[in-house]
Amino acid sequence: MTLAVAKTAARAIGLECRGMTKIFGSLVALDDVSITVKPGAFHALLGENGAGKSTLVKCIMGFYQPTRGQLLVNGAEARIDTPAAARDAGIGMVYQHFTLVPCLTVAENMVISRGDLPAVIDWKAEKAALAAFMERMPFRVPLEAPVANLAAGEKQKLEILKQLYLDQRFLILDEPTSVLTPAEADEILGLVRDMAARGDITVLMITHKFREVTAFADSVSVLRRGLYVGGGAVSDMTTDQMSRLMIGETKVRKSAARLADVVSDTKVELNALYVDDSDGMPAVEALDLKIAGGEIVGIAGVSGNGQSELVEAISGQRPLKDGRIFINGRPFDATRKDYDTFKVFGLPEEPLKNATVRRMSVAENIAFRSFDKPPMAGLGWWLRPSEMRRKATDLIASYRVKTPSPDTPIENLSGGNVQRAVLARELSGDVRVLVVANPCFGLDFASVAEIRAQIIDQRNKGAAVLLVSEDLDEVLELSDRIAVMSGGRITYVVPAAEADRNTIGKHMAGHA
C-alpha cells in the first residue's frame, strides 16, 4: 500500500474515521463520529470546547484507543496504538502548545525530533541536509537560532517544518493560530493550503474561528457534544449555518446595546508605566494610556508583549518599577484601601488562579471584597459567616453560578462558573474602574456572551474599562478605542469605528 502511494506523484495521505466512539467512565466524549478527509484536502474540524475535537484527534494519533470504530489510512484499515505508530503511518500533529525545546537551536530541534540519531552527530552533514531541505520548503526558519529567540510565528512555522522534515504527509493542526498575529496566521495557513493544493500534504485543522475555515479550508466537519452534527464543502455553507451547527439550540444572551454619550466623571490615567517581568527584564516600558468613564479601551497584542505584566501591576500582583496611575487626578496605588476608595474592580485572566483561592468555599471567595466590612464583620475583625453565606446565596442566584452549595470549594466548579462567581463578586457593587484580561478564554458560547454583556453593562453605567485580550475579535467587538501593545509599549491607538484589522495586525507584529 505504502509503495503504491510512493509511486504516484501526489504523496498526500487520505484518512477516514468510521463510527469512532470513545467513552470515559460514564462520559461519552465521542459518539459514532465518521469523517472522511481526502488526500490533499484542507479539512477543518469545528466545535466548541468539550465538543470532542481533541478526543477525536487523540484517537487518530494513538494517544487514546477508541472504544469502537475504525481508522482507514488511504482506504486500508490501520491500527494506530501509539503516537509512534501514527508517526510511522505518516500522521503528524502540530500541538497548540509548542513542543520545541527552547534552549536548543532550530537545527538541534529538528535533528532530535528524528528518532534515529547516531551516538555522535555529524553536524556538518546534518546541517547540509537541513539546508537542502529548507531550500525545498515554501518557508524557512534560521537554522542556527536558539528556539527561545524565535517569535511565535517562526516557532509555529518550525513546528510545521519539523513534521515535514519527518516526512509526515497528514498534518493535524490544533488551533494553530492562537498565538499568532492575523498576518502571521494568514501567511502560514496560506502556505499550508498551497502545499495541500499541490497534493504534497493533507491537513486536518482544529479551530473555532469561522474566518479561518471560510478563508482556507475546503471542507469542514462540525462536532457538538461528541456528535457529528454536520459538514461538507465550505463553499456550500454560510458562517451562520456553521455557527448554528456548532452552538445548537443554546440560548445566547444578546449583547447589551452600546449606549452613546454615557456621562461619567471617572478618568483613569496610566502615566509612564515601567514594569519588569519575573526574570527582571523590562516587560512594560513607558506606557501611557488614558481611559474615560463610559469607555472600553481594548488592548490588542500577541501574548507575551507585556500585557500580563501590565494587568498584574495594576492589580497589585507585581510592583511598578516606575510611573504612576492616576484616577480622577489622584494617585492610585494597588492597595486594598485604594481599590475601595476608587472603586476599582478586576476580572483577571485564569480566574481560578488569579482571582480565587481554590480550596476556599464559593461563599468565602465571593466575600473577598467585603468580608472585613459591615455587615459581614463587626468591629473590623469579628466575621459573621452566616451573613457571608446569605450574601453569597443571593449573588449565586442572580449571577446563575452553578454550584452544589455556597460551601463547595470553588475549584470544583467549571471554568464558566468560576468566572461567574468572580463576576458576582466584582460587578455587583458600584464599579468605577474595571480591568479585564482575557475574560472569555476557554469558555463556552453562552458564558462568553454573558460575560461580554456584563462588561458592556458596566461601560453603559459609566465605568472606565480596560480590556486586555489576545483575541482580536473580542477586542474589536467590545472596545470603543483600541490600543495595540507590542514589545511592552503602546504602539498604536485608534477609535473602534476607524479600526482596520490589517493595520492593527501590522502593529501587533511590530512591523509598522
Binding site: 532530535i112 547516531p118 552527530i121 526574570d279
Partner: protein, 306 residues
C-alpha cells in the same frame, strides 16, 4: 610588600588555585550534568566527603591510590543513584532529598572513616612541570596533580558532548522541556537518574583528590562545604562546562589567598582571608540571582526555576 613578596604571593596563589580548584571543578562538572537534565543534587558535599574517605581507605589497604580514585567514583555513583531514584518518586522535592543525602553521605563517611584518621596512605603523585625553573616556589606551584588535567579533559569533553552527541542533546532536552522529551518517547526519569549517577561519580572523584592529593589526608574537617560551594559555582558558570573551569580556578584562587599571604609572613586577617571563598559564594549567589542572563541560561525544568 616588596615586589619579590608580591611575586611570591602571586605564585603561591597560582599554585593554590590549581590545587584547590580541582575538587571544585569535579563537583561543578558533575552538578552541571545533573542540572542540565533538570534536577538539582545538593547532596554532592556528601559524595565529596564519602569519596575522600573511601579513596583514602582503599589506597591505604591496597597501596594503589588510583584504585582509591575509582572507588570514590563508585561511592559517588551509589549516592547519586539513591538521590536519583528517591527523586523519581511522585511529589518528592529534589532539594530536600539533596540535603538529606548530604547528611547521609557525610554520616557514613565519618562512621567508617574513624580508623583512617591516623594512618598514612599512599598519595597521588603530582607531575613536576616546573623543573625548567630554578625558582623553588614556582616549581612547587607547578607540581600539578594529573586529576587537574583529567578534570579539564572531562570539561572539554562535556562541552563538546552536550552539543554533538545524541546523549548530550537528550540530556539538554530533558532538562529544558520535559513535555518535548516525552513527546519524542524519551523517559525523563531514566535520563535524570543516569545524569545524577554520572554527576555523583565526578563528585566522588573530586573527593578522592581531597584526601589523596591536597590537603592529602583524611579527617572530618576535610571538605568544609566545598561541595556546596561548587553547586553555587555552576550557577555562576551558567551551566557551561568550560566556564566551570574558570569559575573553579577563581574559587581556588580565593581559597589560596590566606595561605599565600601567610607564606610571606602576613598572618593578620588569616581567618578572614580563609573565609574568602565563602564570601565569594555569597556575592555570586546574590549577583546571579539578580542577573537576567543567568536566569535565561538556566535549564527550564529545574525546580528552582519553575
Amino acid at each position: 610588600m616588596s615586589p619579590d613578596e608580591i611575586l611570591t604571593v602571586l605564585i603561591a596563589m597560582l599554585g593554590g588555585a590549581i590545587r584547590v580548584s580541582t575538587p571544585f571543578m569535579f563537583v561543578a562538572l558533575g552538578e552541571t550534568i545533573t542540572e542540565k537534565s533538570g534536577r538539582i543534587n545538593l547532596g554532592l558535599e556528601g559524595n565529596l566527603v564519602l569519596g575522600a574517605m573511601l579513596a583514602y581507605a582503599i589506597s591505604y589497604h591496597t597501596g594503589q591510590p588510583w584504585l582509591g580514585v575509582l572507588a570514590a567514583g563508585g561511592a559517588g555513583m551509589f549516592l547519586g543513584l539513591l538521590h536519583g531514584l528517591i527523586c523519581s518518586l511522585p511529589r518528592v522535592n529534589d532539594i530536600a532529598v539533596g540535603i538529606a543525602m548530604m547528611s547521609f553521605g557525610i554520616g557514613i563517611a565519618f562512621f567508617f572513616g574513624k580508623p583512617y584518621i591516623q594512618p598514612s596512605a599512599p598519595r597521588l603523585e603530582g607531575l613536576p612541570l616546573g623543573t625548567w625553573s630554578d625558582n623553588p616556589a614556582l616549581r612547587q606551584a607547578l607540581e600539578i596533580n594529573p586529576l587537574f588535567f583529567v578534570g579539564i579533559v572531562v570539561a572539554i569533553f562535556l562541552w563538546w558532548g552536550l552539543a554533538n552527541t545524541r546523549t548530550g542533546l537528550i540530556v539538554r532536552m530533558t532538562g529544558d522541556s520535559e513535555a518535548s522529551a516525552r513527546a519524542l518517547g524519551v523517559n525523563p526519569i531514566r535520563v535524570r537518574v543516569l545524569a545524577t549517577v554520572a554527576g555523583g561519580f565526578l563528585a566522588g572523584v573530586g573527593g578522592a583528590f581531597l584526601s589523596l592529593s591536597y590537603p592529602g589526608s583524611w579527617n572530618e574537617g576535610l571538605s568544609s562545604g566545598q561541595g556546596l560551594m561548587a553547586v553555587a559555582l555552576v550557577i555562576f558558570a551558567r551551566w557551561n562546562p568550560l566556564r566551570c573551569i574558570a569559575a573553579a580556578l577563581l574559587f581556588g584562587a580565593a581559597g589560596a589567598i590566606g595561605p599565600a599571604l601567610q607564606s610571606v609572613g602576613i598572618s593578620q586577617g588569616y581567618y578572614f582571608f580563609n573565609a574568602a571563598p565563602y564570601i565569594l559564594t555569597l556575592f555570586i549567589m546574590i549577583a546571579s540571582a539578580r542577573s537576567g542572563a543567568a536566569s535565561q541560561a538556566a535549564p527550564g525544568e529545574l525546580s528552582i526555576v519553575k
